[in-house]
């Protein structure tokens, strides 16, 4: 089995999932597509990374899930942010701002 992508950017995937859910609740595939869209298709999250991450975040109390109906009228599990999840997204966003500023300065990008 190849090393899963999420190993590379464990924290990245989590924060992307949180961000993807910031506006609306989504099912698994929706999250995957939304991330791909948000990152200009730089990230293509595979099921093998996505679902363990979703379950982990749910266990951590940042996501909650409900069963609902998909756009194709299929029963699907929808994820949404909890209050703690929103707080976490806030904190992560601030952290990433600091990191990207620092990395940018260090690498002379900006």
């Amino acid at each position: 089995m190849p090393a899963p992508q999420s190993d590379l950017l464990q924290g990245t995937l989590d924060v992307l999932i949180l961000k993807a859910l910031a506006l609306q609740e989504l099912h698994g595939m929706g999250i995957s597509r939304r991330i791909s869209q948000m990152t200009n298709e730089a990230f293509d999250v595979k099921a093998g990374s996505l679902f363990p991450a979703l379950h982990r975040l749910e266990q951590a109390g940042w996501l909650k899930s409900t069963w609902g109906e998909s756009e194709t009228n299929r029963r699907a599990k929808f994820y949404s942010l909890t209050k703690a999840g929103r707080k976490q997204l806030q904190a992560e966003t601030e952290r990433w701002e600091r990191i990207s500023l620092a990395m940018g300065a260090a690498l002379g990008i900006s």
Binding site: M1, P4, H27, G28, M29, G30, K46, A47, G48, F51, P52, H55, R56, E58, Q59, A60, G61, S70, T72, R74, R75, A76, K77
Partner: protein, 883 residues
């Protein structure tokens, strides 16, 4: 946190629901993806396949989600445990052998540990027990150690030390309690007034002794033990303030001490404590000269003072004492921790037993390791399949470990039950010499010890199969048949382990053999006197009433006359002390007419005072001269008998008859007595100590306030007891008759301690032998099974049954010989440590070592016998076909 707990709860108890939901979720994902692809124009079939491809392995995704669930580890563990249980249940014979082997090992360890814990590990039940010291006086030049302290030395120590917060002396004997039914001897501790404050134990009722109680002329008071209060005084709550009669003198009860309070060095639980100044005997002993070292003392260190500092101060005080009493300059007070003093004698035998059970557990572990190893080999295919199906090696190793731990815990639980059952039986056979401040039982620390042992043991025996599995090549195992798929190293490991078993069994059996031989020697020692058909009883005269030696003579004369005039009691006599059964009395003597010995040197001999008939009754024969007669009374000139040993050593080339010895029991230390006869030697100290010089005096010339009565004849103990009691009470109803026993019984009790340890070690040795036999049998039997084809080939090539038998038996003898090569030197080294426990046997006793080595070789042959027979029955055609 709450979230995680809730998740854990859900994961553990709603697993099915969760798994169902996960499947549903993943299915939805695939359908959504394929719907998307269809929207972009793909054919349904193709879209579905593409979606599946994008998804990756469903099982892998599912497993990865499960792995991150809270409690995933627990779940895996539960799986492993379930699987392990199934594996154990599938092979009940194996599980039974392994669990019972381990149960024997753990059980024996837990049982011995319960004794070690009660005797050696738990602190003495006093406040700050580490501060308590035992004080004794030693005379290194004369080889005397652990004697009591002389009264002058005690007072100097008490008044001039700066190291102790308190110091107390205690002397023990028995007083007669009357007025409460049958007169009874009660174990009495005469103590100096600081005694109770030293230990800090609070009385149950009333008060303990106060300093005023120890003053000269104070009213006589007594503190009684809870047990005596319950057994003798009906636990009456108003006992405090009552008077009780001790040796016909009235003492006021001031308090009751709880049963948990035990006097050091005094085994009894029924006891009383009185101030030393009130004691009919010991109060007078305070007047004795400084040569009498009679008072054991206990002190408590002041906090902040070390034992070393106290020792230094004691040296200074000792030097001062030497100046004050020049004749005693060789004596030196010394201190030891109280715990050390109390457990000193039993430490070696206990540690030896502890080593023995540890070795036993080692054999048990090795045995199980071998069983597991054999099984791992036959399971190699199963394991290879599991690895091929994607189980990680780590997972398989952890599963094997769980199996071992399961075995370990099952064995541990069975062992604890075994220990729990045996300890109560065991505690009742413990010899009386064992200090028992704490009851011997399976308590929390014993259970904890057994648990740790079980886990440690499961790691030890689980290691071998784990390593083996980790190294083995699953492809090779799958490809090749299970018969050939074993690396040579596994066979080597099994052989090595079996040899280790033999080696350890050799050590244990040699130890057991040495003790058995010692004990047999001990039992075959001729004590020099007869014990058959002899009954003894002890009388002790109340000392306030019978204060004068004339009264003692009058009473015993009267009693002897009354007994000897009865037809079946005519062979009665009395003596103090009886050999072996009583403490011996060793006294210095000088030979009149010989030049005085240099300062600080003295000849000594053991001493006994006996009635004229004693020698015939107990079977000591006259070598020359005459025995005592009724004419050797207090009025007549003092006479003495000496033993053959004394005659040979001190009168080598002359006739001792008519010569004079100067000796006597204090205070009459310097009486000149004529030697009138020489009698045969006896073991008077113990069976293990060779007969030394002895001197006897007539009871009428050297009476005691009490005596041992011995009666020869076919009468039962009860009859003799009744007769002696009746005659004694006819003279005085207040005189107690106690310690009635037949001499064989008493002698039996005198070897209780060596019997106990010999029995235990013999049991452990037998278990070790059994386990080693099973071990060798297992290895050889397994080897024959695995070599069926080889045996078939050999047969086909014309090997005779004798050849095959030699092949199999040779293998098992080889195991035994390898084991013995390592075991004999190890046993020799260990035997050296137990040399103090041996009697008339050298640690390297060739008889024992050759015997045990032969025994183990025979056992190895026997263990190989059945596998060899099986080898002979191999049908060569079938053996060759079955591959």
């Amino acid at each position: 946190m709450i979230n995680r707990l809730r998740a854990l709860w859900k994961n553990l108890f709603h697993r099915d629901q969760l798994n169902h939901d996960l499947d549903e979720e993943l299915r939805a994902y695939v359908e959504l993806v394929s719907a998307e692809k269809m929207r972009s124009g793909m054919a349904p079939e193709e879209a579905y396949r593409a979606a599946r491809r994008e998804m990756g392995g469903v099982d892998q995704v599912r497993q990865r989600v499960r792995d991150i669930r809270a409690g995933a580890l627990l779940e895996k563990l539960a799986q492993d445990i379930r699987y392990g249980m199934r594996t154990l249940a599938k092979d009940p014979a194996f599980s039974l052998v392994a669990v019972s082997t381990l149960a024997l090992g753990i059980g024996a360890n837990a049982a011995i540990f319960s004794v070690v814990d009660a005797v050696l590990l738990q602190p003495l039940p006093y406040v700050h027990p580490g501060q308590l010291l035992s004080i004794s006086e030693n005379e290194p030049k004369a080889g005397i150690s652990d004697a009591g302290v002389s009264w002058p030395a005690f007072t100097v120590l008490r008044d001039h030390n700066r190291s102790f917060s308190g110091i107390a002396g205690l002397a023990t004997h028995a007083l007669t309690l009357t007025g409460w039914g049958e007169p009874a001897d009660v174990s009495t501790v005469a103590v100096t007034p600081d005694f109770f404050s030293l230990f800090g134990t609070q009385p149950l009722l009333g008060r303990a002794l106060l300093p005023e109680d120890g003053k000269e002329g104070a009213a006589p008071v007594v503190v009684i033990s809870e047990n005596l209060w319950r057994s003798q005084f009906g636990a009456e709550s108003d006992i405090v303030g009552h008077s009780i009669s001790l040796d016909h003198r009235s003492f006021t009860v001031t308090g009751v001490m709880p049963a948990s309070f035990q006097t050091p060095f005094v085994g009894q639980v029924d006891q009383i404590w009185i101030p030393l100044v009130q004691d009919p005997l010991f109060s007078g002993w305070r007047m004795r000269p400084p040569q009498a070292h009679w008072l054991p003392a206990i002190a408590r260190l002041q906090s902040g003072v070390s034992i070393a500092q106290a020792q230094t101060e004691l040296k200074t005080i000792g030097a001062g004492l030497a100046l004050q009493f020049p004749a005693e300059s060789g004596w030196q007070p010394s201190i030891k921790s109280l715990q050390q003093e109390i457990v000193g004698d039993v430490k070696t035998p206990l540690l030896m037993l502890f080593c023995a059970v540890s070795l036993l557990l080692l054999i048990a572990c090795v045995n199980i390791a071998n069983l597991l190893l054999s099984r791992a080999t036959s399971r190699s295919k199963e394991i290879a399949v599991r690895i091929a199906l994607g189980a990680s090696r780590q997972r398989i190793a952890s599963q094997l470990l769980v199996e071992s731990v399961l075995l370990g815990l099952l064995g541990g639980i069975a062992g604890m039950l075994l220990a729990w059952g045996s300890v109560s039986a065991f505690a009742s056979t413990v010899p009386p010499g064992l200090p028992q401040f704490h009851p011997i039982r399976v308590n929390g620390s014993v259970l904890g010890f057994a648990l740790v042992l079980s886990l440690a043991a499961s790691l030890v025996f689980g290691l071998a199969p784990m390593l083996f599995t980790a190294r083995s090549d699953p492809q090779a195992n799958l490809r090749e048949s299970s018969r050939v798929g074993e690396p040579r190293s596994a066979q080597h490991t099994r052989n090595f382990l079996a040899a280790v078993e033999v080696a350890v069994a050799m050590v244990l059996l040699a130890g057991a053999g040495l003790l058995l031989r010692s004990f047999a020697h001990l039992l075959s020692v001729n004590p020099g006197f007869e014990t058959e058909h002899l009954v003894k009883a002890e009388i002790s005269l109340p000392r306030y009433q019978y204060a004068k030696p004339e009264q003692w003579i009058a009473f015993t004369d009267e009693l002897m006359t009354r007994l000897q005039t009865q037809r079946r009691l005519d062979k009665s006599a009395l003596a103090v002390p009886l050999p072996i059964l009583d403490n011996f009395i060793n006294l210095p003597f000088t030979i009149a007419g010989n030049p005085p010995l240099p300062q600080g040197k003295a000849d000594t001999a053991d001493y006994a005072s006996a009635s004229p008939q004693y020698f015939q009754v107990i079977g000591i024969s006259l070598i020359r001269g005459r025995l005592f007669s009724v004419d050797d009374s207090a009025m007549m000139r003092p006479v003495a008998l000496i033993s053959g040993a004394l005659a040979r050593r001190y009168f080598p080339n002359e006739n001792p008859l008519g010569r004079h010895l100067v000796f006597g029991f204090p205070p009459n230390g310097n009486v000149t007595r004529e030697i009138v006869g020489v009698v045969s030697d006896i073991h008077d100290v113990s069976l293990t100590k060779d007969p030394g010089p002895m001197m006897y005096v007539p009871f009428a010339q050297e009476p005691f306030w009490g005596a041992e009565i011995v009666v020869r004849g076919g009468l039962s103990t009860a009859d003799v007891a009744a007769a002696i009691r009746a005659e004694t009470h006819n003279i005085d109803p207040g005189v107690p008759v106690t310690n009635i026993e037949t001499l064989p019984q008493a002698m039996h009790a005198s070897v209780a301690e060596p019997r106990f340890r010999t029995l235990l070690l013999a049991i452990f040795g037998a278990i070790a032998l059994l386990l080693a036999t099973v071990g060798i049998y297992g290895v050889i039997s397994f080897s024959v099974t695995r070599r069926t084809r080889e045996i078939g080939v050999r047969m086909a090539l014309g090997a005779t049954p004798a050849d095959l038998r030699r092949l199999v038996l040779g293998e098992s003898v080889k195991l035994a010989l390898f084991g013995l090569t390592a075991g004999i030197p190890a046993a020799l080294a260990l035997a050296h440590f137990m040399s103090t426990l041996l009697f008339a046997v050298t640690p390297a006793d060739p008889f024992t070592f050759i015997g045990v080595a032969l025994l183990l070789t025979m056992v190895a042959l026997a263990a190989g016998f059945f596998p060899a027979r099986r080898a002979l029955r191999v049908d060569p055609m079938a053996a060759l076909r079955c591959e």
